[in-house]
Amino acid sequence: MLAFTLRRAIQAIGVMLAVGIISFSMFRFAGDPVNQIVSLDTSAAEREAVRKSLGLDDPVVMQFARYFGNAAQFKFGVSYQFRQPVSSLLAERMPATLELAICATIFAMVFGILMGVYSALKRDTALAKIFQAVSLIGISLPTFLIGILLIYLFSVTLGWLPSFGRGEVVRVGWWTTGLLTLSGLKALILPSITLGLFQLTLIMRLVRAEMLEVLRTDYIRFARARGLTTRAIHFGHALKNTLVPVITVAGLQFGSVIAFAIITETVFQWPGMGLLFVQAVQNVDIPIMAAYLLMVSLIFVTINLVVDILYTVVDPRLRSTLRRPA
């Protein structure tokens, strides 16, 4: 188990190195970094001095090592547009994105699993068929359109929920949370639904398909032959077996929830990392873009690692193969 975790952790570091190379090379693709710092009338000698002071005359490998070393300590340099350290900008914005992503994922998991189980067990009811039809819409409608439709309905027409922003925010240490105020919670609802709807339909369809598959297996038939109650069979035996692949997908999707948050955050003017990134792209603020790329991949890689470990918790068969590698 420990060896497995270590092995996966080393792989994760490898992936991060690769992403680091990409984000490092972004500085070069956008032209000479020195030109972006100095003004037009700076003399060549001064440019050279800047280049030297920034270490840009060192070999590329050295530069990369320094960059990656700094990034590992969450030092991403200074933003061109804000003239502030990127890490503090990100730290300021991260709680908003994470809260949104977590709420969206919880929303998607809870309703996705409930609706999936229902539509598998009561396959022929009208409600199950409505779920199936609605899920098609959820999968095919683009996120920004759903967001705009929700804003139109609940903010503009009904006036129930705010159409933008995070509402009132409470500071807990360095973390800012909107979960503790009423306006913050209200502001979370529409973005969470917008962001989670695609995941919800995905999870629902997955749970339904997996559940139907599991219900056909021999051990479910045998469980019925043993006279277990329908509830024990459906929720004890079938659901647990269904959840193995659902955990993987939901876990891996959490990364894309954060990535997709860019769109939702733009639609709702949500002050998160995604919005910061979009603004950075507009202003060619490369330190922010590079840092965002690294952060998102770090989240992805971490989630992958956690999912792999969770797997072994749920499925005992994996545990023993890990103990004695065959």
Partner: protein
């Protein structure tokens, strides 16, 4: 004779498909007495497994029991509401399926699965149920049961898993065990162990056993009586020695002829020409008539009903009074 443990009367099972209604079971009747082992043989698709599933009430739509009655110790069970038949399943009728590798839920310890079943049917505390589970595992021949109870299914071999399945089937002391091809998925040396285990359990607890298999060897070794099934009907039923040594029905004759013997090794085995009709195309009259060597006009129009013949009962017009003598001559 007192009430038989299981009594099946004119059972019919049909499957509704988009095109037509398929009759999987076509009016079969048999009894199993306390402590008796009834072997049910036949080719694939003869309706052996469906009969077992019908008894335990696990025929799923589009299939349904469309006629006849099933009695368990005198109580009719074929029209019970789902919740009541569920209480009978596992408690009064235990079932063993063909493939032990897939019969157990891979995510739960075997002990938990046994305890769960015991506590569903018997009013026992967690500790008492666990103790009972250990006793059961010991009874079915799992070594070191108090340790193995906390193992997962994948940590057992196929034969050991089938023992666990058997422990699960008998955990509430059922009156009847339905074993659907319990040894087919196992290798030969393990087969013998499982067969003798089922036989011993039946004897020790007075449990009636319905043993579904296509293996005549298993039947001859285990069963008291045997029912030969052919396309949803019982062709012949009787004590196992009589049916094996003196089969009456032409199909049963063919089956017994197809078993290789140690003595006459140079002889070619008898083959029954053709194959069993598909459910969608069962011929009129006797369903065996297109393959039968003794076929005559009546077989093509009239379906034969079981006729008592000594200790056996046989569904064949050959044994019906007047016709009988005529056939004897043809056969000779």
């Amino acid at each position: 004779m007192t009430n038989p443990v299981l009594s099946v009367r004119n059972l019919e099972v049909e499957f509704h498909t988009r095109r037509s209604v398929l009759h999987a079971i076509n009016g079969i009747s048999f009894d199993i007495a306390k402590g008796e082992v009834l072997g049910v043989v036949g080719e694939s698709g003869a309706g052996k497994s469906v009969t077992g599933l019908a008894v335990i009430g696990l025929i799923d739509p589009p299939g349904r029991i469309s006629g006849g009655e099933i009695y368990l110790s005198g109580m009719r069970i074929d029209h019970l509401p789902p919740e009541e038949i569920r209480r009978i399943r596992g408690k009064r009728i235990g079932m063993i399926f063909q493939d032990p590798l897939t019969s157990l839920n891979p995510l739960y310890k075997i002990g938990d699965q046994i305890v769960e079943t015991i506590r569903t049917h018997l009013n026992l505390s967690e500790t008492a149920a666990r103790k009972r589970a250990i006793d059961l595992l010991a009874e079915v021949g799992i070594p070191a049961p108090e340790k193995r109870i906390d193992a997962y299914p994948h940590e057992f071999s196929g034969g050991m898993r089938q023992r666990v399945v058997i422990a699960l089937a008998i955990c509430a002391e059922p009156d009847l065990i339905i074993a659907d091809e319990p040894t087919t998925a196992l290798d030969v040396s393990v087969q013998a162990q499982i067969i003798s285990l089922i036989k011993r359990l039946g004897r020790d607890h007075g449990t009636a056993v319905m043993l579904v298999t296509h293996d005549m060897g298993v039947i001859a070794e285990t069963s008291d009586r045997v029912a030969v099934m052919y396309s949803g009907r019982i062709a012949e039923i009787g004590p196992v020695q009589d049916v094996v040594q003196n089969p009456l029905h032409p199909y049963a004759k063919g089956l017994m002829g197809a078993i290789p013997t140690l003595a006459g090794e140079d002889k070619r085995l008898v083959q029954i020409p053709g194959s069993m009709p598909r459910l969608s195309a069962i011929p009129n009259g006797c369903s065996f008539n297109p393959r039968c060597g003794f076929v005559f006009d009546r077989c093509r129009v009239e379906r034969p009903e079981p006729i008592a013949h000594g200790t056996q009962a046989v569904a064949c017009h050959l044994y019906d009074g007047a016709a009988k003598t005529a056939i004897k001559e043809t056969a000779a």
